[in-house]
Every structure is written in structure tokens, then in C-alpha cells.
Amino acid sequence: MTALTQSAPARNDRQFQFSWTDAGPFLALAVLLVVGFAVNPDFLSTTNLGNVITRSAYVAIIAVGATFVISSGGLDLSVGSMVAFIAGITIMFMNMMVPGLGLWAIPVGMAIALLAGLLCGLANGLIVTVGRIEPFIATLGTMGIFRALITYMTDGGTIPIDRSLREAYRPVYFGTLGGIPVPILISAVVALLGAFVLYKTKYGRKCAAVGANEDVARYSGISVIKTRTVAYVIQGACVAIAAVCYVPRLGAATPTTGQLWELQVITAVVIGGTALRGGKGRIWGTIAGAVILELIANLMVLSDFVSEYLVAAVQGVIIIIAMLVQRFSR
């Protein structure tokens, strides 16, 4: 035992290493596109892909907010109901203001939507942080509240948007700018902003710190309450933006609007590589996750393999397989 080996395993900088975990969602996306093409060549047509990506915009926008909430160690189950509630409020105000303001009702209504979103988010945030209630339960509670409010506002029916606004508002969902559908542009802007805030600002660091270890964050002089509350407020703003894009698509809000979106949103975030226990957020993965979910649903419609009754099962299986592929692709 005298020979002294020199082989020193050099410690590498992780910085520039390719990370399979990070690439996971994008790989899954690629695989899905290939499978889709094999199933039905129309799948890759511009129209179809355009439609699918445009549709995924809502979930993507909301999921950007959810990435903040989740990486700060929270959870928000109320986003689906909140979309419905804010869409309802927006339509109500726009309709009220049409006589006075004409088409100006649209931007003013949008501003009101944003305000409502911020307030709803704030309410969620305060209940979770100041009230110290498990996010799961707190937002389950507000989910019921928002859903009941929209039911009350619609008297159990629908609130349609005023006819005179319809045409002017339509382009927000159906229009294109430089050939790109407006919702895609909006979600790209939201994602860029989200990525900037999460990765490039102090707030983003605080968010991750609070999610990773509350004690450490607190001892570093970071206010856990403030940071997490702000995450919920960001979530509220994202929901408002999604609602504003949503209204022109269907032209009405109903008590069933946005039902179960919360689950889609959370799934998108997790598929995207953000851990549910907090501390790590991946905006671009989240966007990929949202598109993946919508692609799976699209594939179900385009393919004729599956009995109508089993669509949900196949979706479940695909999601689980996608997660497995991600886990073991390392």
C-alpha cells in the first residue's frame, strides 16, 4: 500500500453540462410530435399545430404564475374557478360600460380584470401566509368561493359579452400579428417576463429560497410571508391575463368555465420539471408542459384508436409514461 495514485478526479463545473432533467420536457414534446405525425400526418399541419399551441396559451399563461407559486413552496387549486370568476367580472363590467364608453369598454374592462386578478391572488396569498393554512386546503376553499361567486353572478346560467363588443374583441384570441396568433404572442411575453423575474431578479431568488428552505430564507432576512404572497399575486395576474384572452374565444362566462384547469396547470408545471415541493422553477419547461398536455388531447381527437370512454385513461397513461421517460432518461 505504498503506491500513491495520482488520479485525481477533477471536480467539474456543472455550469455548462447538458442536463437531461432540464431537457426532459422538450424531449417528451419532440417524441410526441413524432408519434403524432405517425398517427395522423395532418397532425403536423400548420393549422392544426397553430390551433393547438394557441389553445395551450391559457394553461401556459396560468402555469407561468403557478411556477412561481409552486417554486415558492405553495400550491393554488383555485386558478380554474378564478378564471371563471374574473371572466365573469370582466364581461359584466364591459357590458356595463359599453353605453358610456363604447369600445373603450374593452381596455378598461381588461384593466379591471387585472385588478381583480391581483386582488384574488392577494387573498389567496394572505390566507396561506398570514393565515398559515396549508395551501392545498386554503385554495380549495377559495376555489369553492370563486366558483360559487360566478354561479351567483350568472344566476346559474351564462353571462355573454355584449354584441357590440364582440367583433372588436375577437382579435385578442383569433387575430394574428405578423402571422403569429395573438394568444401565442401574449403567452410568449408572459413567459419571457416570468423567466426574467424568476431567473434574473432578486425576487426570483427569494422565491426559490423560500420554497427550498423556509428557515434558511427567514434567517437570510427574506420575508417568507411577503415573498410567497407576491407569488400568489403574480399567479392572480397571470390568471387575469388568461381570462382576458379567454373571453373572446367563447364570448361568455359560465359556472363551468375553467373547470379542472387547476389540475392541468399543475400537471403542466410538474411535467415541465418544477418540483412540487418547491425550490426550483422552470418557466420554459412549464410552457413545454402546457403544450404537451394540449397535444395529447389533440392527438386523442385526431386518432380514432380509442373508445370515447377511454380517452381519459389513455391521457393518464401518456402523462405517466412521459414522466417515467423524464425520470429514467438520465
Partner: protein, 293 residues
């Protein structure tokens, strides 16, 4: 030659009635695909309004549709998307819920939800002699539910029939069971119960049976579920009548659309299915033991 494509877009089977719709739509598709070699019927179900819009986009993006038969989730939300498809030159058949812009509909085939509520109310008024205490179970907050309740409430206006309580039970037997138990605990005297859907009526009946109460004279439902129609046939005292709202209307609509497409007879216009009371006398006509509903 290119096949003529008929897309059928309907809600997913999330409770009894929609299950009936899916059943009849698929039956229609199967029969027509077998009978007409140059027609292809594609059935797609969607679990929500937003999904239905997506499905329409998907169907029309991938192939040219000659006709679309749609049972819309809601009128408002589906109007624009269906119009977009019509603008591509597709024949539009709308079932059950009319679009807000009626000019989009080449063919409209509808049940009458207001009549469902109204006819039930009429029967109750008559049977109870114009007065009594009623409890009502509503479904899911949607237009259908709204219309039925409106039909019912408008009809009993001015009579001594009093609605003691009205709550949502989400067209779900379990929730109806619980709600009925609570109604029974709350109201010492109930003359009649109306659940606006038969799934809920099943729960109501169990709860009434368990309570052993004898004050309840009537428990009525709606939609024409086979088990309930059977009760009517058997002359059940508590449920002597039923209001049909046959999910088979989708099948009728598909056939009419096909006729328009391949037949020489153009079929256009507005067909309203009545909601006549099913009584012991005519119940057999409405009894389909093989349907899941």
C-alpha cells in the same frame, strides 16, 4: 371517391343523460357507416365547452367536413366556433341547445327544457289539487338546468304550491341522496319532490324509502331513464309519470343530416320535440331496456 364526412360533436358521458347521447350517437354512426359506404360519421365527445371548441378546431383543421352535428355545451360559447365551421361550407345541424345566432343552424332539432319543467309542474298542480309543499333538486348550473327550473317556477306561480327548498345536487345520485336526507330532516311535511333529472331521482327515492316517511305523495324526475320509465309502466304510486327528454334525439338528428347529404330531399328548418308526459298508457314507447340510460 372521397367519402362525405359527418362530424358529431357531443358532451362526454359524464352522467346518465349524456351517456345516453353518446350511446345513441355511436349507434347512429355504426349503422350509417355500415349502410352508406360513401359516408363517414365521426363521433367526438368533449368534457367541457372549451374542449368542445378545441375538438371543433381539431376536426375542421384536419379534414373537410361536409356536415357537423353538434349538441353544444352552451349556446353562447359555441356560437362563434360553429359559425367559423359553417363559413367553410359545412352543413350545420344543431341539437338540443340552439345557438345564439339562429341563422347559423341549417337544421335545428331540439327538446324543450322549459316544457320539461312546465309539464311536470302542471301534473303536480293537478295531482296535489293546486296546493302543497314541494322541494326541488337542481342539476349543474347550466342553461338546461336553468330552463327547466324556470319552466317549473313559472307554471306554479299563482297556485298554492310552495317551493320549500331548492338546491344543487349536480345531477348526481349520491348528492341527491344526501340532499334529500337533509330536506327530510329540515321539513316535517313535504308533499312532492321534483328532481329535474332521473339520476337524482334514484337518490331521492332511496332517501325517502329509508326515512319511512309517508307524507311524500309524489317524487318526479325527468329525461326518461329506463329504470324510471319502468316504474311508470309498473304503475308506481310515487312516480306515476315521467317527462321524456330523449337522448335519442341525437340519433334522429344524425339520420336527418345524412338524409340531407345523400338523399335527394333537402332537410332544413327547425324541429322542436315535445316533452309530453309519459304515463302508464304510453310508457312502453319510451322504454329502451338496452340503452345505458
Amino acid at each position: 371517391a372521397d367519402k362525405k364526412v359527418i362530424a358529431v360533436s357531443i358532451p362526454a358521458a359524464d352522467h346518465g343523460w349524456t351517456a345516453g347521447v353518446v350511446y345513441h350517437a355511436q349507434a347512429a354512426a355504426k349503422e350509417i357507416n355500415a349502410a352508406f359506404p360513401d359516408v363517414e360519421v365521426v363521433v367526438k365527445t368533449s368534457p367541457s365547452a372549451a374542449d368542445q371548441v378545441s375538438a371543433l378546431e381539431d376536426l375542421s383543421a384536419s379534414r373537410k367536413l361536409n356536415a357537423l352535428v353538434i349538441l353544444p355545451y352552451t349556446s353562447e360559447e359555441l356560437t362563434q366556433p360553429v359559425k367559423a365551421i359553417k363559413d367553410m361550407g359545412t352543413f350545420i345541424t344543431v341539437v338540443d341547445r340552439g345557438l345564439t345566432d339562429a341563422s347559423i343552424q341549417d337544421l335545428y332539432l331540439a327538446g324543450d327544457n322549459i316544457a320539461v319543467g312546465a309539464n311536470t309542474a302542471k301534473f303536480m298542480i293537478e295531482k296535489l289539487g293546486g296546493k302543497g309543499n314541494v322541494v326541488v333538486l337542481r342539476g349543474i348550473p347550466t342553461v338546461i338546468d336553468d330552463e327547466r327550473i324556470k319552466g317549473f317556477e313559472d307554471t306554479i306561480k299563482g297556485t298554492d304550491l310552495k317551493v320549500l327548498d331548492i338546491q344543487y345536487a349536480h345531477w348526481n345520485s349520491d348528492q341527491a341522496f344526501k340532499l334529500m336526507q337533509d330536506y327530510l330532516a329540515k321539513h316535517p311535511h313535504i308533499d312532492a319532490v321534483w328532481a329535474n333529472d332521473d339520476d337524482m331521482l334514484l337518490g331521492v327515492l332511496e332517501a325517502v324509502k329509508q326515512s319511512g316517511r309517508t307524507d311524500i305523495k309524489l317524487a318526479l324526475g325527468g329525461n326518461g331513464m329506463k329504470d324510471i320509465v319502468k316504474k311508470v309502466i309498473d304503475g308506481d304510486a310515487m312516480t306515476p309519470v315521467e317527462t321524456p327528454y330523449p337522448p335519442s334525439m341525437i340519433k334522429t338528428a344524425v339520420y336527418m343530416t345524412v338524409a340531407n347529404l345523400v338523399g335527394q330531399a333537402p332537410v332544413r328548418g327547425h324541429v322542436k320535440l315535445d316533452a309530453p308526459l309519459i304515463t302508464q298508457a304510453n310508457a312502453k314507447e319510451y322504454y329502451f331496456p338496452d340503452s345505458p340510460f
